[in-house]
Symmetry: D4
C-alpha cells in the first residue's frame, strides 16, 4: 500500500514566517506533504519579466510581463494542489491573495484561510468559500495532521 | 437567424454609479446584453442571512450566513456569464471583488477590469488575467459595443 | 434585456405539503422560477418499472427497474438545476434524499437543506455542503426571492 | 510494465469491523490496493473542528466546524478514488454514507454498496447507481480480486 | 413557469418504423419532446461525402468521407441530447449503434435500449450501461411519458 | 417540437467573399443557422484596443491590446459554436486561422476546413483534425444543408 | 528526466492471440508500455457476478450482474488509458467492442482499430473516429514504437 | 517531500537547434523537467502512415495517414504537458505550430512563444494567448529556471 502525498499550496502574504511555521509543524509530525509556494522574494517576483525578457518603458507593461511569468508557476501549482492555504496579512491590499482564493475555489480545491479576526467582515465571502478559517500557522499544521492521520492536538 | 444575447456580470464596488453608466452605454447602443449584478444594497447584503434564517450571537456566523446566501446569486450568475467586469474602487479592501475575478478566471470567463492607475501595481496579477483593463465605465460599454457589433467610438 | 429563469429542483420527502408552500411563495412574489420535482406519487414511483417493462419475480429487481426509470427524470433535472432543495422529513430513512444532496453537491449545484433542528447532528455533513439550512418552506421561498430580486422579508 | 495501484475508498458505518475484513481479504490475495477511509474515531470526527479552531457556543456551529474539517479529507480521497465502497449498517440514519454515495456517483466513480437485504427497498436508488450490491465484506474483497487479476473464488 | 423541452436522440436500425411509432406515442400524449435522428436514407448516408466533396477511387476513403460528414450531425445531436435511445434490429452488425451507445454513455447521457430478447446475452454490457431495456417502441414512449409527466399506462 | 438552431462560426481569411457565399447558400436553403464571425474590418480589428483604451508607444503592446479585445469576441463565439469553419486563403501567414482551428479542435467542436489543394500538405495536420475538407464555400453550405435536413445537391 | 509510461488498453475479440502478438512487439522493442485488458476467460467473464454475489433465476439478471462487475474493470482502465486498441474479429456480433470504441472516443482517447477489410464498410463510423485502422497486431506494435521513439520499421 | 517534475512540450519548427539549446539550459541548471517533442525527422513524420499501414495512391490520403499517426503522439503529450513552448521559425507556413498553440490554449496549458520580432504582428493573437513571448531558446530556459526554483539570470 502506497503512502499518499498531499500537495499543499501556500498563497498570500510574504513578509512574515508563516510558511516556515507550517513547514515545521509538518516536519515535526512527519506528514507526507509537498508544500509549494509562489516565488517569495518580492523584488524578483516584481522584476522577473523584465529581467529575462527585457525592460519596458512603462510600469504597466513591466508589471504585466512579471505577472504573467509568475502566473506560469502559480496556475500550475494551484491547479495541481489538493489544498490551497491563503494567508491575509496585516498590511497591503493583497488582491493577489484573494484572486488566488477565488481561482482555487472555482477549481474545487480545498481552501483554508489564515487571517486575523479584525479582517473577518472584509473576508466573509472568502471565508465562506473555505473549509477552515484559521488564526495561526500552527492551526493549519494541526488541520493537515488531523486530515492526514487523524491525530488531534493535546 | 437569432440574435445572441450576451450575459455580462458586474462585480465589485457598490458605492458609485459605474453600473448605471455601463447600462446607459449599452442602452444607447441598443446592444443585446443582459446585465447581472450582486445585491448592491450594502446592509441587505450584510444582513440577509440573519434576516431570513434567524439571528446569530457571533458576528462571524452572522457574516457566514449572509455570505453563503449571497453566494447563491453570485456563483450562479458568474457561472453563466460570458463576460465578468470587476470594478475596484478607491476605498475598502475589496477582497470580494478580487475573489470574484479569480473565480471567473478559473472558469475561463472573459474578464474586464475597471480600476484607476494608482492601483496598477497592486492589481497586476488580476489585470494580467483579464482581456482588458479599463479606466471608465464608458470604456467598458465601448468594448461591449465593439465586441458585439464591431463599431468603434468616434 | 431578457429575464433569467431560475431552475430549482425540489428533492426529498413526499408526504407533506412543503413543495406546494414553496410554489405558493414563489407565485406570490412573482419570481421567474421553474420548479422541478421527482414523481411524488409513492406507489407509481415504486412500480413504474414493472408497470411499463413487465413484472419481476424478485423484489430486488422490481425495485431496480423502478429506480433506474426514476433516475432518468432525477438525473436530468438535477443536472440542469441552478438550485437543489433537499427536504428531510420526520420519518423514514430518506437515503435517497441524502444521495441526491451528494450528487448535486459534486456537480457544483447550489444546495439548500430543509430540515428540523433535531436532525442537525445527523445531517451535519449534508448541511456543511449547503449554502443555506432552512426550517420552513417559507424560508426557502424567501431565500429565492432575495437571491432573485434582492427583497428581504418584513 | 508497471503494476497499477487501485485506490479504494471505504465510506460509511464505523461501528463494526467491515473495513478490517476487506483489508484482510486484500492482503491475503496480495492485491495492489490502497485503502482510504474517513477518520473512524467517532468523537474525534465530531470534535475535530472545535479542538483545533476553538469551541463554539452552539452545537450547530460546533458540528459545522467539524464537518467541514472532515470534508477536507473526504472530498480529496473520494475525488481520487477508483472505487468507492459505501457500507450501510443496521443502526443510525447514516445520511452521511448516502451523501458520499451520491457524491461519488456524480463524479463517475465506481460504486459498490455493502448492506443487508432488509434495507433493499430503502436503498433502491443508491443500489441502482452502483455496479455491485454486496452482503459481506468478503464479497467486496472477492470483487476487487476478480477485477484486478481475474480470479474467481472457489 | 416554462415548460421543459426534452431532447431525445433516436440512434440505430433504420429499416423498420420504430422511430415513427415513438413519435406517434409522444404526439398522442402531447409531450414536449424534440426527437432527433441520424439521416435515415441509407444510400444518402453512405454517399453524402462523395456527393458533396467529390468521388474517391477507393471504397475505404469513400466511406471515410461519408462517415465523417454524418458525424457532424451525430456528434452534435447526441452531445445535446437528454436521452439517447438505441435500437438494435434483427439484421446486420450494427456496430454504429453500439458505438453511439458507448459514446452517449461516456458523456453521461441517459441511455434506453430497444432490442429483442434473443440479443440479451450479446448486448449485456450495452444493456448494463442503460437505464431501461425495452422491447417495443411503445414502451419507449411510455417511459418518456412517465418521466415527463408521471403518467403510467393503463 | 422546436427547431434546432445551429451555431456556425466562420474563422479565417477576410479578403474574399466566402462568408457571404456561405450565408447565401444557407438563406437559399432556408436553414436555421446562426452565422458568427470575427470583426472583418482589418484596420478596426488591428486598432480596436488603442482606439478604446488609449494609444501605446510600441507596436507590440498596441497589437496586444487589440488582440485581447478581439479575443473577447472570438473565444466566446467559438466556445458556443456547434461547427467552426476555418478558411485558409492564398496569401498571408494566417496563423490566427490555424490557432482558431486548434482551439476549436481541443474544445471538441466540429471543424470544417476550406482551402485550396496547393495547401494540402502544409495543412495536413489541420485537415486531419477536421470532419470535412472543402474547396468552395458552396460545399460548406451543402454540408450544412445535408447535416441539417438530409438533402443532397443535384 | 523520467521515462513516460504509455497506458494502452486492448479491447475486443478474445479468441485469437492478437493481444500476445502486440505484447511481443512491445517487448521486442523495449517500449515503456503498460498493457491492460478485460478479463479474457469467456466463462469467468460471463459468470463472475453470479459466482461472487449469488445465482439469479433469470439469464437477464445473471448477465446484468456479470456485466456490471466487468464494467468496474473496463471503465476504470479505459478511463485511464492513453490509447485504446479495439479488435473486431471474424465472428460474433461484438457489440461490446463497438461500445468500448464509442466510450473511449467520447472520452477523447486515442483510438486504434484492428480489423479485416471485409468489415470496412460496416465499421466505417468506428474507423472514422480512430487515428489508425490496422490489419495486423504487428502494425499496432509498429505504431506504438513509432509514436514512442520515432522508429519506423524496415 | 517529493520533487515535482515539470512536463514541457516543445512544438514547432524542426530545422534549427532550438530544442537542444533549451535542453542544455535545463541540464545546466539541473531542473527537474521532462521535455517532450514531436518526431522531428521530417521525412519520417511525413511518411510514417504509409510506411506502417501501406501506401496510398493520392497525396491527400498519404498525408492524412501520417498526420493522424503523428497526432497520437502530439495530442497525448500536449494533453499531459504543464507548459507548451511553440517555436515559429523564419520559413514555411507552420500552420501546424499555430494549431498546436490554439489546441494547448483551449486546454488551459501554459503557452510560451518563441519567435522573432518581424513576426510580431502576424502572431499577435497567438502571442496574446501566451504567458511569455521569447526571442531566444535561452530565455525559455531562463523562464523555466525562474518558475521552478526562483533563480533569475545574472
Amino acid at each position: 500500500m502506497s503512502t499518499r502525498e498531499w500537495k499543499v499550496y501556500l498563497s498570500g502574504e510574504i513578509h512574515s514566517d508563516w510558511r516556515t511555521r507550517i513547514a515545521e509543524g509538518i516536519r515535526a509530525a512527519g506528514l507526507p506533504v509537498r508544500l509549494d509556494t509562489p516565488v517569495c522574494v518580492h523584488e524578483d517576483s516584481d522584476d522577473c519579466g523584465a529581467a529575462i525578457l527585457g525592460a519596458e518603458d512603462h510600469a504597466f507593461w513591466h508589471d504585466r510581463k512579471g505577472a504573467t511569468m509568475n502566473a506560469i508557476r502559480t496556475r500550475t501549482l494551484i491547479g495541481e494542489a489538493d489544498v490551497v492555504v491563503v494567508r491575509f496579512g496585516e498590511k497591503y491590499r493583497q488582491w493577489n491573495a484573494a484572486f488566488d482564493a477565488g481561482y482555487a475555489s472555482a477549481l474545487g480545491k480545498v481552501l483554508i484561510i489564515l487571517q486575523q479576526p479584525d479582517h473577518d467582515h472584509a473576508l466573509k465571502e472568502v471565508d465562506a468559500a473555505s473549509l477552515a478559517v484559521t488564526r495561526t500557522p500552527e492551526q493549519v499544521a494541526q488541520i493537515l495532521r488531523y486530515v492526514l492521520d487523524g491525530s488531534l492536538p493535546g
